[in-house]
Symmetry: D2
Subunit: 354 residues, 4 copies
């Protein structure tokens, strides 16, 4: 049986290159080879924080653009040689959860997330895609294959934050955390018509790019209490929406304290520790302030990829400022992943073009 | 200047009858005299828990049906002698908050609540209604004046819980707390098409009435852990929605642990103590489970009263089982209020018909 | 190859019993045999009005409860011997349309409708179900197998009408047309909390059952203009919502003339003739009255069946009054179908139990 | 009693300057003097098409920025000397319609529109504003007083079109009609995250500005059938949403023929003639295609003005390209109005700065 090489989690704190059998393709599935790849902070959580528990020889990665190399007998819309966008989340579309509009949770909490979680990820010479007709999207020729990698997770996650926050014309939005996902949340808020946008973060490269994506106010926790800084800037007026793209369970305390009654706090940040999310009772209106608190994994699948990609095709969104570090050999993937862990000051995302 | 008598909070833990000047009626306002009155658990919080701080000589009460005795020059839709439903919440309709759909918070958090909060309540021989055209509703002749008192707060609050929970056909709903508001949440869930409805409460009278309103399963915390009882009953399946109508900040822990991804936890319970609402991180999907947590004060004003009253007019909802204790003298109001504090086993709501 | 018998459209105006090969079951599919069957007015349209064009040897029917007799290798949730509810609409769940929430139109307008349209229907000794995990639902033991047939189309279509109309507590709703679908729209409106419900229809059996399902006012076109009758009854006040479950393109003229600004006209009726739906310009507010006009095919699939069935399990909805005529032999299906065409005064739905 | 001068409709086809008594200010009202004014196509309809019937000595105009010169005793948030944005639509906020979210129709269909309709308009030395706290908004100092006039009607109407169409990220949107309202609908679609945007119109100045606001494709009816042109450009794929900002009752035929199942046709165009809006039955899915058709007058009032203005303050929207012709004397208003009637090739909007 043919083998392929991939960059894997060997165990907690331990990555390395391994060989595996090329996966079999079921009647609705596809086999792809990556064209470009990018590591995600989730890969860092998986390996160096053991977020998914101790996994052995699990090929990492869920951000890729790719070429189709094999399709199952029932696949109708994709053929060998097609260049495709690959979503990080590849749901089971027949599931009741998907029918309810929560395909991310098909078969259980977060179970739409399969790459480098339920099965091997995309950091191999080949990777397997379940339900190809539902989970791949053709790469429009206008989109660069490195830019396309940002469509796997960064763009849809950031935009999902703005969607959960139901940002409307002219609203004031706070985005807490301006790593790549937070930056896409800034862009997403502006793309939904936000007026004033506060970007909360301390790294100068991220601040610069936040401005590029339309942030009007930068807030740095080193300059004092975040709540005070925001309410000072607004003259004491609460903001309409908060998108949490960084921090931890305490960040909700900040969010609820700056948001108006009838506002929304939307979370797209993985919360790794802490027993309880902290919602301050008083500012939450003693239970009656109509402040909605919600968080969610990005929607996966083909439809979302197709629509997100239109933003790039028509020049509404330029993701290239996210790609601060570029590599061009498969082997550089390891460097890129470690880079994501070490998060240098000038890093947003590294990308490896194959 | 003419005086009137009313039952007031004299200070914390202290109620009594006082006299006040009959309030002046502005151009858009009305003066009413009650036809029937009911004390609310909120009155108990106000007096015996000092929920609003130490108030002196504040006339209590926000549940009444009434007759109009005077109207301002600009009032168009009401005239002296009209019998009316009076909502507990009487917003400022020109406010930006009302224009945003959150009239409850017109002018500030919960500030649409004026009776026995921002001004004297309805437990007087007379009471003042701001913006009468926007805040009164004609009492349909089909509705009994005692039943009508339940339209001030119990019915719209319970129904608001089911609305916030966005209950849909066939859903499984848990209602935690089955005092009068929780019972109306049970009725509200059924009226929005719920299938299975769990009612969580321990008082036998309330359980009996919960059944009447359509609860299919009764859960008593004395019989063991609530989460276990519910998940046992469903065979481990999560429920669709939870409406919290009792308990405290810890109740959210229970709610999130029984609700599905994409579900909603809706709170209509006044939360008097505790620094933080407790949302369990794991069951909240590590921040990404799409479990919406929201709580809110009932919408006030005329429109809501008119629509809620149609449920009584057309026999969709019978509130009389809530009225377990009936009085017929203004002076009995004091007994009724103390009764609400002491909450005897067979009590749901006392009502005083004048 | 094994054969089976079924009742087919041989051509326009022509039905008869034919034999076909038992269909092959793909990896995700199932083969079922019916337990109970019912003809639908759509079958009548198909055969006697040629609504789908001239079809030859197409087995009819899309309303059935059934038993699973074979499943494909990839089917996880159903096994041979399971008793199931079968939706009339069995979408392709991987399609982009399904991912957008419009599974009814997977692969094209109305293409989620496959039985007796894209393939043979359920009026055979066997029938084929595509994507079984997504399109079947276990029949709860509490539900009678004849009642279950109403879950295929009548219940979900009627309820979809009330859903599209976004019926809210206390609203006044008009249902135009009270055949079985309209009756379920009446029930659906009441189950979503409607107050007053007008049922427009002329057959006395249907009127009687409309009352049973909660209609408060009956309107008969023989008694005069429908618009006049409704506005007279309301004292000139517009109604909140209209659900169209009968009539033709002119019926929208009536609907828009009785509905309020901000109201909704929801159509669940197959419109067989006429070039244009007629929306009266003046009453539609010269284009600016915020009267939403929408129509749609019922959502198919497992989730909808599961949730609809809960209404029967928990006694929220009793469909047995729809089943006015009962048969118990497969051969009676022909009589039942002709009966549906001839629509006797006392007929709502015939059902054949096998 | 003091008099003031204004430009009025004297009768159909007849305008002129008249004198009137300065209106009295009720307790909640304000008196304003304009800072800048613009005529609207609605003024043209009113005078030269008699759209509101034959009116005599009605002062025209509903687009203005202004200064407050007097306020009633109950006005809390505005004082003499404040510079304000004035919405074209100034609802009665206590009305049931406003409480339902349809303030435009407070007191009856379109009755939130008062200027130059229910009372004198803004084309006078003074004009009266009802419910000032609810209907004025402070002019942020960052906004030019001529730009501010576009906030009265053009911006909120165009954006309302995109809101009714519920434009989402990456969607393909067609805007039919690219006068000033249509141009703001193009901008509104882009501001809500549209991908591809078709602008349908023939005037070259408007096409140029449509491109500026983000239209990706221009369609001219002179180049052939609009439906064909659009479906050719998309390769036969239906578009997601259509916003109608021009044309007549036949335009809906075009719109429904290009939109997908589950799409929305949103109208913001005044429909002056024709008995019925024409919805083509086949393409509307025989009544079951889930194509929503809705149209509505812009929401008025303070909240909408405040939020729209934030788009200008933060540089999300630049309205100056709309202002193709500028005047600086009150008397020029007559020229500007006639210009709006004659609609020269290079005209979008004239504005008069006082």
């Amino acid at each position: 049986m043919a083998k392929f090489k991939g960059l894997a989690m060997l165990g907690i704190d331990n990555i390395g290159w391994i060989e595996k059998d090329i996966p079999k393709v079921g009647p609705g599935d596809a086999l792809c080879r990556p064209l470009a790849l990018s590591p995600c902070t989730s890969d860092v959580h998986t390996v160096w924080e053991g977020a998914l528990g101790d996994r052995h020889n699990l090929i990492l990665g869920h951000e890729a653009s790719a070429e189709v190399v094999e399709v199952g007998a029932n696949v109708k819309d994709f053929k060998v040689g097609d260049k495709v966008i690959v979503p990080a989340i590849t749901p089971d579309w027949e599931s009741v959860e998907a029918q309810m509009g929560f395909s991310q949770h098909s078969g259980g909490m977060l179970n739409g997330w399969k790459f480098s979680n339920g099965k091997d990820g995309v950091f191999g010479e080949y990777f397997h895609v379940n339900e190809a007709d539902g989970n791949l999207a053709l790469l429009p020729p206008e989109i660069d294959i490195c830019d396309a990698v940002m469509l796997s997770d960064m763009v849809p996650t950031g935009l999902h934050g703005a969607n959960l926050a139901e940002v409307e014309y002219g609203e004031t939005v706070v985005v807490i955390g301006i790593g790549p996902v937070g930056l896409m949340a800034v862009a997403g808020a502006v793309l939904r018509g936000a007026g004033r946008v506060f970007a909360v973060g301390s790294r100068s490269k991220c601040q610069e790019v936040a401005k590029y994506y339309g942030a009007t106010d930068l807030v740095n926790y080193r300059d004092g209490d975040i709540v005070d800084q925001i309410l000072d800037a607004t003259g004491g007026k609460f903001v309409d929406k908060v998108i949490i793209a960084g921090g931890d369970v305490d960040t909700f305390d900040v969010a609820v304290k700056v948001v108006r009654r009838g506002g929304i706090v939307s979370n797209i940040n993985y919360l790794g520790t802490g027993e309880y999310i902290k919602i301050p009772r008083m500012e939450w209106g003693l239970g009656m302030g109509h402040i909605c608190v919600i968080g969610g994994l990005m929607p996966g699948g083909r439809k979302n990829m197709e629509y997100c990609s239109q933003l790039l095709v028509h020049g509404r969104l330029d993701v290239s400022p996210l790609l601060t570090h570029r590599f061009d050999k498969f082997e550089d993937l390891e460097t890129a992943l470690v880079m994501m862990k070490d998060k240098a000051d000038d890093l947003i995302k590294p990308v490896v073009k194959l």
